[in-house]
Amino acid sequence: MQTISDEVLIAKIAKGDRLAMEALFARYRIPVFRFVKRMVRNETTAEDLNSDVFLDVWRQAGTFEGRSAVSTWIFAIARFKALNALQRRPTEELDEEKADTIADDADDPEIALAKKDKAAVLRQCLLKLTAEHREIVNLVYYQHRSVEEVAGIVGIPEATVKTRMFYARKKLSELLAEQGIERGWP
C-alpha cells in the first residue's frame, strides 16, 4: 500500500510529469469543483474554473515553496479564481443573488412546508449566505480545513478566521429568525 504525498506529486509535476498531474487532479478535482461551485453557484462556470485552477497548478508547480500544504495552495488558487469570476459577473446576475438573500414577506407553499423541517430551512439559509460567508462555511464544514489552513487559503490571520466563521453563523441565525426559527446566539 502506498500513498504518494501531495508534495511529492508537486515535485514531479514541476518536472513535467503528466502522471503525477493526473494523480493530483484525481485527488482534488471533485473537492475543488464543489468549493468553486459553492462560490460561483453555476455549474458551467465552476467546471471552467476547475480546469483553470489545475492549469495554474501545472504552470506554477515549480514555484511552490512548501510554505503551506499543497491543498491549501490549490484551494487558495481556486478561491482567487472564483472571486474573480464573481466580480466579472453581469449586473443582472448580482441582482438575482442579492434578491436571493432577501427574506420574502409572504411564504409560498413550498417555504411554508419547509418550515416544518428545520433541517431543510437551515439548508436553505446556508445557501443564502454571502460569498464571503459561504466560502468560510464550506471550507470549515465541508472541506474540513483547520483554522490554520483556512487562514492560508483566505489570506487572513487565524483570529480573523474564527471571528469570520462566528459572524457567518450569526448571519445564519438572522436568516433562520426571518424564517421563524429562533436559535439565540449566534
Binding site: A11, A14, K37, R123
Partner: protein
C-alpha cells in the same frame, strides 16, 4: 437545540474562545489539546452543549449541500490536458520546490506509512466485500480515478447517517459496531474521514433517525455522527 430567550444578553457579549472553536470541533479538525478543551467545556456547560447541537446541524447540512453539488463532467481530464498540451514547452526550474524535493527524497528512502484514512478505507473494502486486501492508489491515463469523496450517486432508498470513527478504533471494534447495530457502510471516506452508513433499508422519519443517531453516538468507536437527510 435551544431557543435562547436571552438573546439580547448574549448579543452584548463576545463569544468565548471555546465557542469560536465549535465549528472546527464538529468537523474534527482541532488538535488533540483543543479537542480536549472543547469536550471539557461541553460537558460542564449545558448551554454551550445545546448551542453545539446547532453547529452539528449546520455541519450536516453543509455536508449535504457539498455532497449533492455534483461532479465535473467525465471529460474534464481530457479538457485539462488539452489545455496543458497547448501550452509552450516549459523548462524545469531546478531551484524551486525545495521542500517538495526533500519530501520526494524522504519518500524514496523511508518505509511507507499507512495513513489512518487509507486504513479505514481498506477496512471498508474488507468488511463490505470480504476481501483480505487493501486498495492501492492508482492513476490511469483516462478516467477511472479513485477519489476520497463520497459518491454522489448515493442510493435513494433507506436511511443514512454520516459517521467519523475514533482514530483509535480498531478494525475489530468497527466491525463489531457495524454488526451489532446492523449497519452497512455505503460510501466514503470523504474529507474528514466521514463514512456514509445505512442504518435502515427504508426511509425513516426524522424523529426515528434522530433517535438512532442519539443511540449510536454513545458508542466508543464513534467520533462524530449526524443524520444524512
Amino acid at each position: 437545540m435551544t431557543s435562547a430567550n436571552n438573546t439580547t444578553t448574549h448579543d452584548e457579549r463576545e463569544p468565548s474562545e471555546i465557542e469560536l472553536l465549535l465549528p472546527w470541533y464538529a468537523a474534527g479538525t482541532l488538535d488533540p489539546d483543543e479537542t480536549r478543551q472543547v469536550e471539557a467545556a461541553l460537558s460542564r456547560d449545558p448551554e454551550l452543549a445545546s448551542r453545539y447541537e446547532w453547529v452539528r446541524a449546520e455541519f450536516a447540512q453543509e455536508t449535504a449541500i457539498g455532497e449533492t453539488a455534483g461532479e465535473p463532467s467525465p471529460g474534464d481530464a481530457r479538457t485539462l490536458f488539452a489545455k496543458i498540451d497547448a501550452l509552450p514547452v516549459r523548462r524545469t526550474n531546478p531551484s524551486a520546490g525545495l521542500s517538495a524535493r526533500v519530501a520526494e527524497f524522504l519518500m524514496s528512502v523511508t518505509p511507507r506509512t499507512l495513513a489512518w484514512s487509507a486504513a479505514a478505507a481498506a477496512l471498508v473494502i474488507m468488511l463490505q466485500a470480504g476481501l483480505l486486501a487493501g486498495f492501492v492508489f492508482q492513476t490511469k491515463s483516462q478516467g477511472g480515478y479513485q477519489t476520497a469523496s463520497v459518491p454522489t450517486t448515493a442510493p435513494t432508498e433507506g436511511s443514512y447517517v454520516l459517521i467519523r470513527f475514533q482514530p483509535q478504533a480498531t478494525a475489530a471494534d468497527i466491525s463489531a459496531f457495524l454488526e451489532t447495530n446492523k449497519l452497512s457502510i455505503v460510501g466514503g471516506p470523504a474529507g474528514g474521514q466521514l463514512f456514509q452508513v445505512r442504518v435502515a433499508p427504508a426511509k425513516l422519519s426524522q424523529a426515528d433517525l434522530t433517535r438512532i443517531v442519539n443511540t449510536l453516538q454513545n458508542d466508543k468507536v464513534v467520533g462524530f455522527i449526524a443524520a444524512a437527510y
